[in-house]
Symmetry: C2
Subunit: 190 residues, 2 copies
C-alpha cells in the first residue's frame, strides 16, 4: 500500500535514474535523465561537503573561507573580497572569519594602506588544515577522471562546462568571478 517504496518523485527520486534509453529522438526521458543526474551530483556533493567539513572539524562554509584565504597566501583577503567571491554578505563573512580566528586558523590584520580594510591571513595551522583537509569529493572525482581515456576526458569537460554555462548564464553580473583556485585581486579602480 503506502509502502510502495518511495522514490519515484521526478527529480528527487532515484528510482528512475539508472536505465535510460540512450538512443532515441526527442526524448523527454533524456531531459529527465539529465535532471536526475544533476540532482545526484548535487546531492552527492552536498553530502560530501558535510562529511568533509566534519572530518576537518570545520563546516563547509568555514572551509571555503579557509581555502580562499589559504590560496591567497600572505597577501590575505579582505572580508569584502571574500564576500564577493563567496557571494554572501559581509556580515556572514565576519561571522565565519570570527570562527576561524577562534580556531586559530586565520588572523586578522588591519591593513596598513587602508585603515578600513582588514586582511585575513592564513596561519600555519590553518594552512595545514586547508591542505590536509581531503576534499573527498574532488579526490574521488579526480581519481576517476584521470582514469578515463583522453577523448572521454575531453568530452566530459566540454559537457560540464556546457551545463555550467547553461545554468549560471546571466547570473554572473557584477560579481567577481568564480573561484576555486584562483583569486583575482579585485581592485575596484578598474
Amino acid at each position: 500500500m503506502s509502502n510502495k517504496r518511495h522514490g519515484t518523485s521526478g527529480i528527487e527520486g532515484s528510482g528512475v535514474a539508472y536505465k535510460i534509453p540512450l538512443m532515441s529522438e526527442a526524448h523527454p526521458d533524456r531531459t529527465d535523465a539529465c535532471l536526475i543526474a544533476l540532482r545526484r551530483i548535487l546531492r552527492a556533493t552536498e553530502q560530501y561537503e558535510r562529511s568533509l567539513a566534519q572530518a576537518a572539524g570545520l563546516t563547509s562554509a568555514q572551509l571555503r573561507v579557509l581555502q580562499i584565504v589559504a590560496a591567497r597566501g600572505q597577501a590575505g583577503a579582505t572580508p569584502k573580497a571574500l564576500a564577493m567571491q563567496m557571494r554572501v554578505s559581509q556580515a556572514t563573512v565576519t561571522a565565519l572569519v570570527d570562527k576561524l580566528v577562534a580556531r586559530g586558523m586565520v588572523t586578522r590584520f588591519r591593513s596598513r594602506t587602508d585603515g578600513r580594510q582588514t586582511d585575513v591571513v592564513i596561519t600555519p595551522k590553518g594552512d595545514e588544515t586547508a591542505t590536509s583537509a581531503p576534499d573527498a569529493l574532488q579526490q574521488r572525482f579526480v581519481r576517476a577522471f584521470e582514469g578515463m581515456r583522453d577523448w572521454e576526458q575531453a568530452q566530459l569537460v566540454s559537457s560540464l562546462e556546457r551545463v555550467a554555462a547553461m545554468l549560471d548564464a546571466e547570473r554572473i553580473d557584477a560579481s567577481p568571478v568564480l573561484t576555486i583556485g584562483e583569486i583575482k585581486d579585485d581592485q575596484p579602480g578598474a
Copy 2:
C-alpha cells in the same frame, strides 16, 4: 585550495572559454576545468534554489518536501521516508513538515494501519504550489537542453550520468549522515 597546482590562471570563472594550454598525457588543466565547472553548477543551483524558494514563498528545503509529497499523491509519505529520501534526520523533517502544515500545504494523517506512522499528504493548495513553483533551474536547463542537437543531448546525458556515478558511488558508508539506505533500495534488480 582545491588544487595546489592550480597554476593555470587561465581557466577560471566567467570567462571560461575553455582554453587548455597543453595537451599532454596528464591534463591537470582538464581536471581543473571539470572541478570548476562542477563548482559553477553547484553554486548556480544553490542560488537558484534560493531565489526560487523565495518566489514561491517557501524555502528550498520545504519545497523539496513538498515536491516529494506531491509526487506521492494521496498515498502521502511518512516522515521517515521523507527523511531517508532527503537524507536528513527525522527531526528535521518534522520541522519542515510543521511549516508546510502551517502554510496549509500538507496535512498530517495518522496512519490507520500503523498507529505510529503519520502520512503527510498534499493539499490542493500544496499541490498547486508544487506544480506552479517554477523550478527556475530546471526550466532554464530544460530549455537549453532541448535546444541542443540530438547527439549533443545524448552526449550530455551520458556525461552527466557518468559524473553522477563517479560521485555518488560507494559513498554509502563511512559517513554518519549518509548511512541511509535509500540508494540501494531502488536497485533495479542487480
